[in-house]
Symmetry: C2
Subunit: 330 residues, 2 copies
Amino acid sequence: MTDKPLDVLAIGNAIVDVIADADDAFLVAQGLDKGAMRLVDEVEAVALYGKMGPGRESSGGSAGNTVAGLAALGLSAGFIGQVADDELGKIFAHDLRATGVEFGTPTRNDVGASARCLILVTPDAQRTMNTFLGAAQRLPASAISAAHVATARILYLEGYLWDPEEPRAAMEAAIDAARAAGTKVAFSLSDAFCISRHRDGFNRLIDDGRIDILFANEDEILSLTGAADFDSAVAAVAPKVLVLAVTRGAAGAVAVSGQERAEVAAEPIAKLVDTTGAGDLFAAGFLAGQARGKSLEVSLRLGAIAAAEVIQHYGARPEADLRALAGELL
Amino acid sequence: MTDKPLDVLAIGNAIVDVIADADDAFLVAQGLDKGAMRLVDEVEAVALYGKMGPGRESSGGSAGNTVAGLAALGLSAGFIGQVADDELGKIFAHDLRATGVEFGTPTRNDVGASARCLILVTPDAQRTMNTFLGAAQRLPASAISAAHVATARILYLEGYLWDPEEPRAAMEAAIDAARAAGTKVAFSLSDAFCISRHRDGFNRLIDDGRIDILFANEDEILSLTGAADFDSAVAAVAPKVLVLAVTRGAAGAVAVSGQERAEVAAEPIAKLVDTTGAGDLFAAGFLAGQARGKSLEVSLRLGAIAAAEVIQHYGARPEADLRALAGELL
């Protein structure tokens, strides 16, 4: 890759997570689908919050977690996302900057409250997410400049932000800027429900060759392709992107690039606490490897190491020294 | 004790904790005294927050943590404390009620922002606390009624709230109400610096026989008495209260009541993560035992069990099932 000051510039939802324990009966009583992410409006968010157990708040957002992980791995990363001028917005900005990530998107005070994600963690460590997006979905195209995108080796986009019109237009423009500047475009499919809302749009991006590095999990790649099994789904998508990286939870992860294919097992862990952020941190490790020109296998291992750290504690941002955990790999 | 619907009613600072990792060099650079709690104004709080690492927010406050622990142990508990009508205030109220604690103090919007405590956790798991008290120190006497105090077996007060005039007057009135209603008065000395500000006032309360159950740690009882060693300090204070409970960190805890004396070792733990809340949860376990008429030794063991749980994770409120951990003891 050409010489760029920023390893990764991400565009994503700027969200503060509110994490609480819950049992399966609570999910059933609230009509929640375990393991899924659903969008809620402010009324529903307030009602669910009132019924939830005590919360632990920490900054999150899928791409935000990924750049925090990249910074913890010692890479240079930037983030673009919208918060309101309120307390949660200040918490989000503080936490992201404190990880070392460059974040300068101006706040807006005309777009409702900052986003929050109410995350219920069941005893099996699965997380069920209820996201009030608020200000996050009002990221305007004006928050992104072609010159800023051009400073990055990799532009990373989260599929979650494809729903609202303004940020979608902003991301489309950012992709154009990236392609013009020799910046690789990485994209996360984010969530199977997200794909069901945007299958055609995502497939068009991929078919048009606008995505270089595609992240998905098993459910997502099956949902995207409609394929009957995992191998067929991978075979259908891999030829359309430079690199395809697919996570399979405890079964590890697979990456394909042209004729090359690599696979890693999940890293062994002492105790599974909360899977929130697993995919985001996998992306951080994998992108770190790719930005540094490492092999598919090393990139996968870096992803597995970062994901293993984050699922052993509450919260979606790394707490241990990821740089040290990566050791010789980076 | 007489039959009362509430096991414990506590009056304390309503504070949201913001916890971040820090190294010793950061504490030195900021001129912070490791392990201590200091009060900061809003300007200093904002400046320190800007320099701190990413935070994890969770509701705290010394007495708030204690009642959350009591509820987790299956006891009925209430809390009186002041928050503003802002986001942190809503978080505090939600979290406390979600633990099962009765909390109905009306919010005030004329007293500044809700309190927050910036907690820096060093690799040795010690916490250095910087508290902006804001609304918490504006708890008015009108928030406390004698009839409410009379519903509790034990009234629990935190020494931290002795600084500002309004809450101090409120607590004095609450002690009067408790004594008239056959409600026992428990008091935590909170902090050695807190004692240096109020040594005479605290000694007067104790000398006047207005405290039934006194909580202190080793530093605090030495500071209170000016005694040369631990045993002399305990011997000086114990005759003046019904029950004296003193924690000694990893060395366990001691309780004295009249001629009776009991001592327990600290509970073994798998990994020390963050000592925030250790004293508060010790008080919860000990008060649970006292409210249920258990022996000094059982009360101490309950305190040690609750303290051991909270120091093995970030945050000052219990996350594991304390009721199950207490087992046959309660």
